[in-house]
């Protein structure tokens, strides 16, 4: 691949690049742009939830015809939560996270010159780009963007009579998602093939860093589940535009009976959640993979229980495909199915607990280098535990009856997949920024960014559990129609204040990111003293990654603080330093770890 260097023009280098490192940066910047939109939206609807009757200039400025005197309309409130969810889950945490780091790290960490197919990789990015453009365009259609919730359950999403956003806005949403899924599938296939076929000499599967395992398994989940969402989207397009009745039946709306007969909305829910639940792990596993790497490197310790971590990733991946029904306990599906899904759902607690305990043990007796990436990884472990534990409440069908679709759910999933995955993404950016841009990000701003973000994240989502337990349903434009919720108003104000502060604090990161890109101090080759292969490549990017031969691998990725005498903690470090690159051959008589 690297042997014949094409002459690179501006277009082939920066735009239609087939180099995985450039594509990864493209994913990251596009994801960040979409993230800014989604965060802005959340700030707008948080304003509405805290002060429903107050006029805001900013609402007037942003929402145009969708507001009256600075107070947003109920329809656009629903559109905002819908698009916030869609963008965050798919565009930021799937493409932005997986797309960025799978692309950057897979070839570098397994020792390959590039992805198996650089061309498909480029196509994958540009499909993602097009789907982002379509999604952004959908924000500007006259009747407003899709408004039926990010889960787009029909009939609401199928009938423009039911909500204006289900007109052109919804059509664009479906088109955008179909393109997105194509992008995601092409990317995932590429990742799988690359990990399986292009590993350098000596890089056995059991020597892969946990990031690789996480990305690899994530790609498999994506390939298994995304096509099902595509089929759901296509069938919904048929129902909406060509008069079929896959999901619709017996509907009377706007004074007339519609022709739909025999379909079922519950079928859509099954198809949607068959992706929708694995999607949680598509979002989360890469973040956990990044965390494993960052925590181990910065603790100067091997990740505890490497094989148990791989097994738990696999167990989570397998279980994630057979638990989708826990989103549907009260959808009207057979209660017996509810029992089965409760059982499989609660089983996920076991591998998740193993992961949490292993992170904890990795920290224990470490020599923690508290870099910004490390802080975000520790933050991830914290929010993952907090959010994961409430899963035991929601996954239990009997308990879910009464808290389904309340703010308890919102708090749960934001902590366990939203905040956790974003923390993983930040950890990844801080950690691998020197690999991406050859410069270092600013440490002090990183610290500020972390502390404000974690305080705000808990300030938003911890109290939110309680308003959910008080019975407050999500997706309400305002709670003022119910006197029984009057005592929750103050809490909503507090949540909004934290949300605004947390949202604004992300500007610190954006400033740090873009300024460091041009003005940050030049990076050294291995700034974090890490073992993995990506730190053996030169700082300046070259096509093909390694100037000479691809290095051979002789050991696993976690020989941190390995001693000459394995049984004696007081003996000297192997090679006199607390890390041993994967490319270093075993010493004579050294036991492989």
């Amino acid at each position: 691949m690297s042997e014949h260097h094409h002459k690179e023009t501006f277009v082939t280098k920066y735009i239609f690049s087939q180099d995985h490192k450039m594509i990864s940066k493209q994913f990251l910047v596009t994801g960040m742009f979409m993230g800014i939109i989604a965060v802005l939206m959340s700030m707008l609807f948080r304003l509405q939830l805290a002060w429903p009757d107050t006029s805001f200039t900013i609402v007037e400025a942003f929402l145009g015809s969708h507001q009256t005197n600075g107070i947003m309309d109920p329809d656009i409130y629903l559109a905002l939560v819908t698009i916030h969810g869609t963008i965050m889950v798919f565009f930021v945490l799937t493409a932005g996270l997986s797309g960025t780091f799978s692309n950057l790290l897979i070839p570098l960490q397994i020792g390959a010159r590039d992805m198996a197919s650089g061309f498909l990789n480029m196509i994958s990015y540009w499909l993602f780009f097009i789907s982002s453009v379509v999604m952004v365009i959908s924000l500007f259609v006259e009747a407003g963007p899709a408004s039926a919730g990010w889960t787009v359950y029909p009939p609401l999403s199928a009938l423009p009579q039911a909500i204006p956003g289900s007109g052109a806005g919804m059509t664009l949403w479906l088109v955008s998602m179909a393109i997105f899924i194509a992008s995601s599938l092409i990317g995932a296939l590429n990742y799988i093939v690359t990990v399986l076929n292009l590993r350098t000499k000596g890089m056995h599967m059991t020597r892969l860093p946990l990031t690789m395992w996480a990305f690899f398994i994530t790609a498999i989940i994506g390939v298994v589940s995304f096509p099902v969402l595509l089929s759901a989207a296509l069938l919904l397009i048929f129902d909406r535009s060509f008069g079929t009745s896959f999901f619709l039946s017996d509907i009377f709306i706007s004074g007339e009976v519609l022709h739909y007969q025999g379909g079922s909305p519950v079928l859509f829910e099954h198809l949607f959640w068959f992706l929708g639940h694995p999607e949680v792990y598509i979002v989360l596993l890469p973040a956990l993979g990044i965390t494993s790497e960052v925590i181990s490197t910065n603790s100067r310790k091997p990740i505890f229980g490497y094989r148990a971590m791989i097994l738990s990733i696999m167990a989570i991946a397998f279980l994630s495909t057979i638990v989708w029904g826990h989103h549907m306990f009260i959808s009207g599906m057979n209660p017996f199915l509810g029992s089965v899904f409760t059982f499989t759902t609660l089983l996920i607690a076991i591998p998740s607990a193993v992961k949490a305990f292993n992170y904890l043990t990795t920290l224990w007796k470490g020599n923690l280098q508290l870099n910004p990436a490390m802080l975000f990884s520790i933050g991830l472990v914290s929010t993952f535990v907090t959010g994961g534990l409430t899963g035991l409440v929601l996954g239990d069908s009997a308990l879910d009856i009464n808290i389904h679709d309340t703010y308890f759910v919102v708090a749960h999933f934001h902590l366990v997949m939203g905040v956790s995955a974003i923390f993983g993404m930040y950890a990844g950016v801080y950690h691998w920024f020197p690999k991406m841009y050859g410069r270092m990000m600013n440490k002090t701003l990183g610290y500020w960014h972390f502390w404000i973000t974690i305080i705000c994240a808990y300030g938003v989502f911890w109290p939110m559990h309680f308003i959910g337990l008080a019975g407050l349903p999500r997706r309400y434009y305002t709670n003022t129609e119910f006197p029984m919720f009057d005592d929750l108003a103050d809490i909503n104000v507090v949540i909004t204040l934290f949300a605004l502060a947390g949202g604004v604090a992300q500007l610190i990161f954006i400033a740090n990111f873009f300024i460091s890109m041009y003005r940050g101090p030049k990076a050294t080759q291995n700034p974090w003293k890490s073992n993995t292969l990506e730190w053996t490549t030169p700082v300046e990017h070259i096509h093909g990654n390694w100037p000479g031969k691809i290095p051979e691998v002789h050991r696993w990725a976690y020989d941190y603080s390995k001693r000459v005498d394995a049984d004696d903690d007081d003996s000297d470090f192997l090679h006199g330093q607390d890390f041993v690159l994967q490319t270093t051959p075993l010493l004579e008589g050294e036991e492989p770890s």
């Binding site: 603790s299 007796k365 280098q369 520790i378």
Partner: protein, 338 residues
């Protein structure tokens, strides 16, 4: 007030800009011992903040919670919830402490050597088995309760009520003397003749059905709800009874519970009185009418513009009062013109 807010934002932006340019000139980029020490201590401080917040919320927000279950079936829900909540609460408090304390305790120092500790089958087995055993209990109790609630097969004495949803209102239909609902379908909807729920009036079972706009339930009798929707998905959420079921166009869904307290009794429940008083204090400060507790049915599945205000009052009466109330309602045969 708002002007002050904008000034505050302006100042904040100014200060951040100044700070950012100042900080960006610092060239040190990798945490040294000084940073490790400082950040480690910040983690300790954060632990204090975090625990204070968790405990404050747990204590102070107790009064906001839903009162005890107003249905007999819901008692076990509350029980299971308490068990689960204590359990995850304890795990949460221990785990978070360990995460942050380890971060503080093992913060990096030049002279510290990390322990090379890669594996321990014993530990892995311990923390696989303990969660597994705990889960057996939770799953067992949960599934038993789920089956209790969802099994409506042998309820001969149940009161059959249809709850009917549309954008953006609820209606209900009582099954009448024969306790059997007449067939319903959107094709029978005839607004001009007041057949708003689409009941097949040629069905003999439909004649004595009674359509109402507010639910009234007898205390101590099993209620067998059947849900229908006319347009989009809705969800009938009755939080006080620990009851919820989606209303799905094209199919009939079911749920059942037995009311335990009449509305009057519930208003005298100490938890309800505390909550009501707290709410009324807030309402009085805003100059709004006082609130009186009522059971409610809320829509809890996104259904369109007025989703946030789709509600129906539920009243629970003693059996004899209920009998009087239901006897006074007209039957569909009387209401709907042929």
């Amino acid at each position: 007030m708002l002007a002050l807010f904008y000034i505050f934002i302006g100042v904040a932006i100014g200060v951040s800009f100044w700070q950012i340019t100042r900080v960006m000139n610092l060239r040190s980029v990798i945490a040294d011992d000084h940073d490790n020490d400082k950040q480690g201590k910040y983690f300790l401080a954060f632990t204090v903040f975090f625990y204070a917040m968790m405990i404050y919320c747990l204590l102070a927000m107790n009064v906001l919670m839903l009162p005890e279950s107003a249905s007999i079936e819901g008692e076990h829900d509350d029980n299971l919830f308490d068990i689960t909540f204590w359990l995850i609460g304890i795990v949460q408090f221990i785990m978070q402490f360990l995460i942050f304390y380890f971060t503080y305790k093992y913060r990096g120092r030049k002279d510290r050597k990390a322990k090379f500790f890669a594996d321990s089958h014993q530990l892995e087995i311990i923390w696989t088995i303990i969660p597994a055993v705990v889960l057996v209990v939770l799953i067992g109790y949960g599934l038993w309760q789920w089956n209790e609630v969802m099994d409506l097969s042998d309820e001969k004495d149940a009161v059959v009520i249809e709850v009917y949803s549309q954008q953006f209102r609820w209606d209900a239909r009582y099954a009448g003397e024969d306790n059997t609902l007449g067939l319903g379908n959107v094709n029978y909807i005839d607004i001009n003749n007041l057949n708003t729920m689409g009941v097949d009036m040629s069905d003999p079972n439909a004649q004595d059905d009674k359509q109402v706009t507010e639910l009234v339930l007898p205390k101590g009798r099993k209620i067998h709800f059947k849900f229908r929707s006319q347009d989009v998905l809705h969800s009938a959420y009755m939080p006080h009874f620990r009851a919820q079921m989606n209303c799905v166009p094209g199919m009939v869904t079911e749920f059942g519970f037995t009311p335990k307290f009449t509305t009057e009794e519930m208003r005298l429940n100490p938890e309800v009185m505390d909550k009501t008083n707290a709410i009324n204090k807030i309402r009085k400060a805003k100059g709004e009418d006082p609130y009186e507790f009522d059971y409610l049915l809320l829509c809890n599945k996104i259904c369109g513009q007025a989703h946030f205000n789709m509600q129906m009052k539920i009243t629970v009466l003693e059996q004899d009062e209920y009998d009087k109330w239901i006897a006074a309602r007209p039957t569909l045969a009387e209401v709907i013109k042929k």
